[in-house]
Amino acid sequence: MDNINELIDKLAQDTVPVRPAHHPFMLSIEWMVVAGFYLAAAMMLSGARHDLLLKLHDPWFSGEIAALVGVFISTALSAALLSYPDLHQKRRIAFAPVAAFAIFVLVMLFAWRADNPPAPLPVHSFECTLSITLLSVLPAGWIFFVMRQFASTHSHWAGGIAFLFAFSIGALWLRLYEQNDSIMHVVEWHYLPMIIFGLIGMWLGKTVLKW
């Protein structure tokens, strides 16, 4: 009991005015804006696929992009909430990526069914995963760095969701850049590796976001 009193006195003596962290909604908007600039810069450097405007008239392609944007927004929001010990008392919103991924999977299923006759598979394969990973490494590192300044009590989930957010930036970039219409290829080499990426994020989150 004496130890507790001593500790409290010491902590009270050490205290200084503290600026409360931003609201998680503001935080996620900040992250999305920065990520948006990063994506725009990547697009400027690589260029967009030459038939992008035409493809955006294809409902399944634009549906896929919209669902991917949904994943991007929901993961940003969820990662921001997961950075707070009490999830800012908005636990339900932290589950938003579940709905976003469900919609995304549905859209991909419909897009796959609509891909008839199937578009030819491109000659390359793992290069797409590699490109997405390379583009996502920087945002993943940055978001982990920012999240370390908070106090997550769900570090593995926070890490996983943060990595999915970073990966969705890479996935968006490649989908807007690569001249490819094969849904099979996109699912296999663009989106399925997302699961592995999320698992790596969970593993890293447990160590890196520990406080």
């Binding site: 006195d9 009270a12 205290t15 962290a21 010990p85 009490d86 908070f150």
Partner: protein, 179 residues
Amino acid sequence: MTDQIDNLEALMKQSLAGDQRAYAALLHEISRLLRPFLAKRLSFTNEVDDLLQEILISIHKARHTYDGNRPCKPWVYAIAKFRLQDHLRAHYSDQLHHADDLSEMEEYLQQDVTEITLSYESISGEVEKLPEKQAIILRLMHQEGYTAKEVAEKIGMKESAVKVAAHRAYKVLRQKLGR
């Protein structure tokens, strides 16, 4: 009850503004709140005190994640539960580790732990390279002839813990001496 909650939030707001007295009052209030919560979940008073200290430090570190515009109690309990889980995880993994050692030793415990086929003098150089506690145990058992029970009493450990430490030391020595 509402007063107490309002009080916590008001104290937290003042603390964030740098009011040291409010902060001390807040931490006292939080420890008063958490002590029964922890006591219900832990068996020993010293464990409760240790964990409570850890939780208070965590609250201090994470205080910037509270903005004063939402209830304070769920925030406090989220941190307390997180630290409690950490503590229990570490506690049980330690016990599991200990249990593994004991099961590994099941047959070994039937034997006389002071029995070693090499003379202590011939391997004393290797013994000194062991972690301090293991080296002391082996020295007491093999050079000075104490039993595991006597060593346990002498260095304030449990007899089973002494046997486990001796067993680990033998394992290392066996590997080093290629036997």
